[in-house]
């Protein structure tokens, strides 16, 4: 038996925890939560998920289609039905006033995402569009949606208010119904009475944003999110990132942004609601040859800690991937954290996809190195979409070592990289395109880091 709050009501259910939350909600009669893709691509099934943290409830938007029920245990699930009040909320009104809803199928999702924006303390006013980047509108009402969102950002100010105070303010201005003020207490009580049985064996789940795309439901899920593996911290020479840290937390991490353009780079990864749900560990063990975070951290010479119940080991991330979806991981082992050296270095990340945002890369690549007396040192180059594994380009990295940057060096590096990869024709592009693109991205690395570099391509 598991419990959670669905809008105002405490709900007890006895269903497999690996089932999709969307399917549950629609069966429960929440018909404002729509289905259009069932893979987290379109946002018509958007809900808010509130979690009790130190007496406060923190809300995030989530695509309910790829959210397993296990992830909502003990939480507050808010659907469009739970946001509706007698009068339209300012968000709903703005969408009406600007003509931002045509067929209407995507509209509840946009309302939920925009409500999530005002609840979220990590996004600034100027980031309001980030909150709806995971919502598609096929009627193409984006121009009107953007006008509505910008108007709302201009007219509504809650950034000076934190946690419950913010929620009170949102109730006052009609964005949230009154009952939101009772949720912290209700969740607190739920916590005491809620009991979910954790399975010892089964599918380890850390976000499930790809698992629930591949399968309709998960059998025997073990939710890593319930174990304390999340968070980013500095220790000694390293930045440690816990395996269940969300992609969005990585994107906005102060530790990483002090060294790299992580905020910008990771904005190219997936879409906001997915980044809130997806985790580093999930991305690493999913072992997609095109996994953005893997490519990112391969070039930062990351190490990972693998542990089972008895002991642990630390290995280089680049040694983790053996063949297509085959990793150096044993039954019972999980990734605990990933760490990178906190030193400053030159770093660049590139990703090209058919659609710039919210798409899977055709090819992605990252590079890092130090520059010592104009010479490259500690070079690490990675590329995705060009091999059965997320590729650490070891030969190319070795070649670059101790070289002075010049056109000839880059040309040679490009040649070596080309010999290291084996792209295939698939829906992300032809093999010859991917080879060409890798070449271009290697040039792009150097031209981004050294804009005045003279090269002929």
């Amino acid at each position: 038996m598991m419990k959670f709050i669905l809008n105002q009501e405490i709900v007890k259910i006895d269903e497999p925890l690996g089932n999709s939350t969307l399917d549950f909600l629609r069966n429960k009669g929440m018909k404002g939560v729509k289905e259009a893709c069932h893979e987290g691509e379109c946002g018509v099934c958007m809900i808010l998920l509130g979690e009790l943290k130190d007496k406060n409830v923190e809300y995030k938007a989530a695509t309910s289609c790829i959210l397993p029920l296990g992830e909502i245990v003990g939480k507050h699930v808010v659907t469009i039905e739970g946001l509706n009040q007698e009068k339209l909320s300012p968000i709903q009104q703005a969408l009406v006033d600007e003509g931002a809803s045509q067929c209407g199928f995507c509209t509840p999702g946009f309302v939920v995402s925009l409500t999530g924006f005002f609840l979220n303390e990590k996004l600034e006013k100027k980031d309001i569009l980030t909150s709806i980047e995971g919502n598609l509108c096929r009627c193409g009402a984006y121009a009107a949606i953007i006008r509505s969102a910008e108007k709302l950002a201009k007219e509504i100010s809650v950034e000076d208010k934190k946690s419950q105070e913010r929620i009170q303010k949102l109730i006052e201005i009609g964005i949230l119904p009154d009952y939101f003020s009772d949720i912290p207490d209700k969740l607190d009580k739920l916590k005491e009475s809620s009991s979910t049985k954790l399975l010892k064996e089964g599918t380890i789940v850390a976000g499930a944003t790809d698992l629930l795309v591949q399968q309709e439901s998960l059998s025997d899920p073990i939710f890593l999110s319930e174990k304390e593996l999340s968070g980013i911290h500095l220790d000694g020479n390293y930045i440690y990132i816990g395996a269940t840290t969300s992609m969005e937390d990585i994107r906005v991490s102060e530790e990483l942004n002090a060294l790299f353009n992580t905020k910008q780079d990771i904005s190219l990864v997936s879409a906001y609601p997915i980044r809130l749900q997806a985790t580093l560990g999930g991305n690493l063990v999913n072992a997609s040859p095109i996994g953005d975070l893997i490519i990112y951290f391969l070039a930062l010479d990351a190490e990972i800690s693998l542990k089972n119940e008895r002991d642990g080991r630390i290995i280089k991330l680049r040694d983790f991937y053996k063949d297509y979806k085959i990793m150096d991981i044993k039954t019972g082992e999980i990734i605990e954290w990933l760490r990178i050296n906190k030193k400053e270095r030159l770093f660049n990340f590139e990703k090209v996809a058919r659609r710039k945002y919210m798409d899977i890369a055709s090819v992605n690549s990252a590079i890092s190195f130090d520059l010592n007396n104009d010479k490259i040192q500690n070079a690490h180059l990675s590329a995705g979409g060009v091999a059965p594994v997320p590729k650490y380009l070891g030969k190319t990295s070795n070649y670059l070592e101790n070289k002075k940057i010049s056109e000839d060096i880059i040309k040679e590096a490009v040649k070596i990289a080309d010999s290291e990869v084996s792209p295939i024709d698939d829906v992300r592009g032809s093999a010859r395109y991917k080879r060409l693109l890798l070449r271009q991205l290697i040039y792009a690395h150097f031209l981004t880091l050294f804009p005045d570099l003279e090269v002929s391509i």
Binding site: K31, V44, N84, R354, R355, M358, R435
Partner: protein, 746 residues
């Protein structure tokens, strides 16, 4: 009800899958062909029938009527009986207590095929003589004797790709048994009468035994004109056999695999110009990939031919179209209906001619724009022409020549970042090109409390037709729109309806509403005259006026007194577009009630290092007549444009031997928020349209074609980087295609 959009924002608008499920409901899951072409040697459904929860497995022999869903040409089975023609073709349907059980059972169906040769390419099909129907040619003047008079003659090939509709609400249907073998179908269709008619053919019953009712669609874009029908017919067939309600909602993957899309075209063109750049002759051969059955292909092909000269006057034209039969899911209607594919070719030809003659594209375009009194190659005279007006206004508004110069300077000073700018004029004919379809009915009921209920044949699918109908009725009745409810579209209330398509929904149904409302107004005026024993009665702003003075009789009072006087407060009206005709033998006539015009200027930036691009800005001057609703028309202009840009850029269908590898939203990419350019829409002023209701103009499809401007602008930007290389006219211009143009592989 205050407005029609608020319920959308509350998630309270009901789509098919949101209808409360009736008791005893069965769920249908469709079993489809896994090969592109073959004979069915054996089909074994025994295991599936015995599977848990299964009530019935439907196959071709369970069809009591004709196994035929083809509308224009009867060449498509509902359930394949002896031969399969494409991957995704329905063969059997499992009806079970739960969706999961139905799905599991489809896996237990055994089928054996004898594979037959397949063809996927339109030109290869044409070579083999595989055509859906005979080719079609429109012609004016004499191209053959003109070529030698031309200073420049250019030939080339232009290719445009298909496009998946991605209506967010997938195909869906719910059929419910009524008494005496009658069936009520709730279908996500643009064409209730088509669903009704086809279902009656399948079941071998009279049309009056089938009622189709439609509230709204979660997007359609042409994809639910003919393609909604099979799913509704399957549900009805299920009801016929089980006497239980049946629901079928396709998953996204099923929808993309089983339903038609925009037709891909491959076209040969030849264009001849004089020294000044006047186009003297144009020739084109369109090879339409029609897919495995006709669906609407021949009509779509016709419109490509009609719009082959876009907004230009060309005295000598010969355009031929071949509807080529291939082993791919039958292609179908999609916003623009062949018009975009036709216009793309002439724009490519002009861009090509500009390169050869050195005359800028914009100059060639302007020189050849249509003028009042010109004749289209299909015989219609150009009337109320706004081609030049919109063109010159957008050139002025955007300061086009200055922007072009600035962009050239920018490109000189930037190595890897290049900008491009283009102009795209459009001229789109309004009316169904099958003249008989240009008819509509309306039923206006005024209840004795003064509230009004309106039924028409129009389907609300996001294009705002209900808002427009309400506006027309409110204006004609001179009452507050909040009194008016637009009902669902039901084949029992308004009959023999044409699909809501060809941008004509508001034109046709709006006119019928206007006529019906006027009938009621006349009767009400008589009632008021009788009550007041006076003449010179008018109704304005909810009150009866006598000799221009307001009386004490409000709308509510008026309606009630009319009721007491036993006045008929229900009016049915019918409208048929006047003055349209077309002789398909001579291929001449006046197929369109009027034309919609407009011009857009597009600016783009190409990252020539990575082969990626941004569409920066689109500014358009569009002819919407006297707009019925500004926000609705603005939404159509902006939304149509974005879909058009998607078609020209990132929306790529990848078929491999007839199998669609882009059958999900993670592999088929549609424009998203960040893809949207800055859009500025100006509606042409003083553009009252005498040919449509309240002087308005249809707007659903025309703005889609501004998307072609993005292609032309990207071409300019890319060529600023590679001046030496010949351009291939092929859309969509994906980042892959672009990068492979920008660089040569060793």
């Amino acid at each position: 009800m205050k407005d029609l959009i608020s319920p959308h924002t509350r998630g309270e608008s009901i789509y098919i899958d949101d209808i409360p499920e009736p008791v005893n409901l069965l769920y249908a899951v469709v079993f489809t062909s896994n090969i592109p072409h073959g004979k069915i040697i054996s089909l074994d459904i025994k295991k599936a029938e015995k599977s848990e929860g299964v009530c019935k497995v439907l196959i071709a022999k369970d069809i009591p009527g004709d196994n035929q869903i083809g509308r224009l040409i009867q060449d498509e089975e509902l359930l394949a009986e002896k031969e399969v023609l494409f991957i995704g073709q329905p063969i059997a349907v499992v009806l079970a207590e739960t969706k999961e059980q139905a799905k599991q059972a489809t896996k237990l169906i055994d089928i054996e095929y004898e594979k037959l040769p397949s063809v996927f390419d339109s030109r290869k099909a044409a070579k083999k003589g595989l055509l859906i129907s005979s080719s079609r040619t429109l012609t004016i003047g004499n191209i053959e004797s003109t070529w030698e008079k031309c200073a420049t003659v250019i030939e080339g090939i232009a290719e445009s790709g298909g496009q998946e509709h991605v209506y967010l609400e997938t195909q869906a249907s719910l059929a419910i048994p009524d008494e005496n073998s009658r069936i009520i179908i709730y279908s996500s269709t643009q064409a209730p009468t088509t669903v009704q008619g086809t279902t009656s053919i399948i079941l071998g019953c009279d049309m009056n035994l089938i009622e189709v009712d439609v509230k709204r669609l979660g997007g359609a874009f042409g994809g639910k004109e003919d393609q909604a029908t099979p799913w509704a017919a399957i549900c009805a067939l299920g009801v016929y056999h089980t006497d239980r309600p049946v629901k079928l909602v396709l998953t996204r993957r099923e929808d993309i695999q089983m339903t038609g899309k925009r037709h891909p075209y491959s076209t040969d063109y030849k264009i001849g110009l004089d020294e000044e750049g006047k186009i003297l002759a144009f020739y084109a051969e369109f090879y339409q990939n029609s897919g495995a059955a006709a669906d609407l292909s021949t009509a779509v092909l016709g419109r490509a031919l009609f719009h082959a000269t876009n907004a230009y006057y060309i005295p000598n034209v010969r355009v031929t179209g071949y509807p080529c039969k291939t082993n791919i899911v039958p292609f179908t209607a999609f916003r623009g209906f062949g018009g975009p594919q036709g216009m793309f070719v002439i724009e490519c030809a002009i861009a090509h001619a500009a390169e050869v003659t050195g005359i800028p594209v914009s100059v060639l375009q302007e020189k050849n724009l249509l003028q009042e009194g010109d004749q289209f190659h299909y015989g219609q005279q150009v009337e109320n022409c706004n081609a030049q007006r919109s063109f010159s206004q957008v050139v002025k508004d955007t300061n086009f020549d200055k922007r072009k110069k600035e962009i050239e300077d920018f490109n000189t000073n930037n190595r890897f970042t290049k900008k491009g700018i283009s102009i795209m004029p459009i001229c789109f004919g309004i009316s169904f090109t099958s003249s008989f379809l240009n008819q509509a009915g309306a039923l206006v009921n005024v209840y004795k409390d003064g509230s009004v209920s309106i039924s028409t044949g129009a389907i609300e699918m996001g294009q705002g037709v209900n808002i427009k109908l309400r506006h027309i009725a409110a204006k004609t009745l001179s009452i507050n729109p909040e009194r008016i409810r637009i009902e669902s579209t039901s084949t029992s209330r308004v009959i023999n309806t044409s699909p809501t398509a060809a941008s004509t929904g508001a034109d046709l149904n709006g006119k019928a509403v206007e006529i019906a409302c006027n009938k009621i107004i006349d009767r009400l005026k008589n009632a008021a005259a009788e009550e007041l024993s006076a003449n010179a009665i008018s109704i304005e702003s909810e009150y009866v006026y006598q000799d221009g003075k307001r009386t004490g009789i409000s709308w509510k009072k008026l309606v009630n007194l009319a009721y007491l006087q036993r006045v008929n407060l229900s009016a049915q009206a019918f409208y048929a577009t006047p003055r349209i005709h077309f002789d398909t033998k001579k291929e001449k006539g006046r197929p369109f009630a009027y034309h919609a015009y407009g011009t857009a200027v597009t600016e783009v930036t190409v990252d020539c290092l990575r082969g990626t691009y941004t569409i920066d800005k689109v500014q358009m001057v569009h002819d919407a007549g006297k707009s019925l609703n500004y926000l609705v028309d603005l939404g159509q202009a902006e939304g149509g444009l974005i879909q058009g840009i998607g078609w020209m850029t990132v929306e790529e269908l990848v078929f491999e031997k007839g199998r669609n590898f882009t059958d999900s939203l993670s592999t088929y990419k549609i424009p998203n928020l960040y893809f949207t350019p800055k859009i500025e829409v100006t509606f042409l002023e003083d553009a009252d349209n005498p040919e449509a209701v309240l002087k308005s103009k249809a707007i659903g499809e025309p703005p889609f074609m501004y998307g072609i401007g993005t292609y032309l602008a990207l071409k300019n930007a890319a060529q600023a980087f590679r001046k030496d290389k010949e351009w291939e006219y092929s859309a969509p211009l994906t980042p892959e295609k672009l990068l492979l143009f920008l660089y040569d592989l060793d």
